[in-house]
Amino acid sequence: MKQHRNFLVWLGLLFLALLAIPTQTSQAADNTFKVGMEAGYPPFNWTQTDSSNGAVQIQGSSSYAGGYDVQMAKKVAQSLGKKLVVVKTSWDGLAPALTSGKIDAIIAGMSPTPERRRTIDFSDTYYKSQLVIIVRKNGKYADATKLSDFKGAKLTGQLNTYHYTALNQIKGVIKEPAMKDFPSMRVALESGTIDGYVSEKPEGISVTRANPNVKMLEFKGNNGFHTNPADTDLAIGLRKNDPNKAKINAALAKITPQERDQIMTKAVEQQPQSKSSGNWVIALLKQYGGMLASGTGITLLISMVGTIVGFIIGLLVGIVRTIPRSGSKARRGLLRVVDWLLSVYIEVFRGTPMIVQAAVVYYGAAQAFGWNMNRLAAALVIVSVNTGAYLAEIMRGGIIAVDAGQFEAAHALGMTHLQTMNKIILPQAIRNSLPAVTNEFVINIKDTSVLSVISVSELFFQGSTIAGQNFQFFHTYLIISAIYLILTFTITRILRAIEKHMAGPQNYNLMANQDQVSVPKNNPEV
């Protein structure tokens, strides 16, 4: 099925591997069967707010996962005699989560491609799929019956999937750039930028049920795509040499093809529908208000803690990097080494995307050292350290920008470097750099969205989940944008007020008539 090469994630892991750290997997010998899935790919898996239709609670969340994959996972867990735990993980994060031991299996509509088989193992097939093309119902290609009808059509498919490469089988097609995920393609189709996209039957059934304006085209016999079973089959991803593989295969074998079809039909019927009654904003907020609120909270928490801790890191680094190079040789040498190390820190964290840092820290640490970090904790660490790298340079600039006369006056009074920094320079440097800190805060609010790679349920992640369920992409993302805008606008105002407060009052009171110390000598009675 979907064949992302989660390039960035693996790049990060490769980096760690180059450090020659022995690879080990941490595997809690507990009684749970942890299954990773996106919970956003109906009808295979989706997120819902209650436990109806046999949905299973998502680990560390108040939401539930439902769908074909969940039902399969339940059966497998039962046969293993373990309790099923669903771990919501982004598509890019599934393989690293498996190899690093954060999950025990991937049941997420994944195909056992030879490429994937190099890093992970697969069970037998648990679903067999076929390729379809989704088009607009009132569009030019709504009545196509064979691939050659798509001559001149603008088609696309998901990035790094065989769906996209299958387009090569259509002569004369205009191959649009591949897209990141299904929601993007659905939006593109509705907006008319593409004429259709390649998908698989279950997704097609889902989307046509949810959106009456689109149509799924199936092709009979040789009129359709030629596909490879390794692509159309879906299997459960397992760690290599998983001792439970035989048991899992045995469990799958017990589920008959009829039963599978039944489960799939049910899943398609049960997938969450948007309740479109009355005002769409109110309806959307009513149905998903809780998810949006928790996403907003997480985004705010991460960006706030990240900015504050990053500010402290930046301040400390800035202070250390502006220590004057004087004193003994040993002291100078030590300073040079520390300065070099700090430069490396700044260059590395400024020079790599935060999404890579997140993957390296979260999955890398688990794979290399067996550290199983809490997702949120990992997110806080990454954003803080990343922000620190940027703010370190801003603070250094702020310190350097303070007039040399301020240092001289403080030194001339006999203040040490530390006292000078503490009492005179830093208050000025911090005030001068506040606009840049505000900027960083605003950037953090928006950039926490990349943390979806480690499945932190911040606002964007929640938004994608909602859009994946209700198929109201435009509406959902519009609301998400409004929330982001309100957040950044409010934060900007608050920090501006702090800036003003630090500047102090614009006026001062003359103390002429208050006796401060010396009373004028000619009227001693006062």
């Binding site: 007039d403 301020q406 009074l413 006999g414 006292q419 003359l510 110390v517 010396s518």
Partner: protein
């Protein structure tokens, strides 16, 4: 007491890169004395002053405070700087602090004075320079002359043994100069040892016990104010003073 040497400069040299700014400077400053250093711009007078409180590190030679060299590595620089105050041409008031805090901070952080006591000293000194009404003002809200008077109060609040003035009126508008000079004159009358780099020749003549004329990094001539201003021996001194005195002394 009359001839107690507070600062002794011996064979002082200072080079910036290839440029030698000070050449073999020898100087003695006695307690209670007002020493003026005059000379053309670039003659090295400010550098000499900055060497005395170690804002510049001398290249060679020695500077003694009382009988102790200030250039040895174990010398207590903090204590020394607290005892040798400085007033800057560009004021250098702490921009983040108000007038009162500017005069308190050195006392509390360096001298470890109790904040209330420090405040009292600061207010006394601010009153003497006529700046006590402005205790709540920030430096940015003051005029140049007001800033410099605060600068003086800040330095004097530390109860220094010696006070250095680095062209204290050069950055001021003419009408503000007198207020500052008045404050300095009042200080000189208290018997405080002062070393003054200035272009205010009339002031230097009236106030100084001892005048040094510097030219191209060396002390060209020195003597009492009377000797230098009314009867200069060297041609260089004469030329310099002539140029300055043409417009009449203020």
């Amino acid at each position: 007491m009359e001839n107690e040497k507070i600062i002794t400069v011996a064979h002082l040299e200072k080079t910036f890169g290839d440029h030698q700014v000070l050449k073999d400077i020898n100087l003695e400053v006695n307690r209670g004395e007002v020493l003026s250093i005059i000379g053309a711009s670039g003659s090295g007078k400010s550098t000499l002053l900055r060497c005395i409180n170690l804002l510049e590190q001398p290249t060679s030679g020695d500077i003694k405070f009382h009988d102790q060299s200030i250039l040895t590595s174990d010398f207590d620089m903090t204590d020394y700087r607290a005892k040798v105050g400085m007033v800057f041409q560009s004021f250098n008031l702490f921009n983040n602090l108000n007038v009162l805090q500017n005069c308190v901070i050195g006392q509390t952080t360096v001298l470890k004075r109790d904040p209330e006591a420090a405040k009292k000293v600061a207010l006394e000194q601010l009153d003497k320079v006529g700046m006590s009404p402005y205790v709540n003002a920030k430096p940015a809200q003051l005029s140049g002359g007001q800033k410099q008077r605060v600068g003086i109060a800040r330095a004097v609040s530390m109860n220094p043994e010696v006070l250095l003035f680095d062209e204290p009126t050069s950055a001021l508008d003419p009408e503000m100069v007198d207020d500052v000079l008045d404050s300095m004159r009042a200080l000189a009358h208290t018997g405080l040892t002062m070393i003054l780099v200035t272009h205010e020749m009339a002031f230097a003549r009236d106030i100084s016990d001892h005048v040094v004329f510097m030219d191209q990094g060396v002390i060209a001539e020195e003597g009492s104010a009377q000797e230098i201003f009314t009867n200069p021996q060297k041609e260089r001194t004469q030329t310099f003073l002539k140029r300055y005195l043409q417009g009449g002394m203020r």
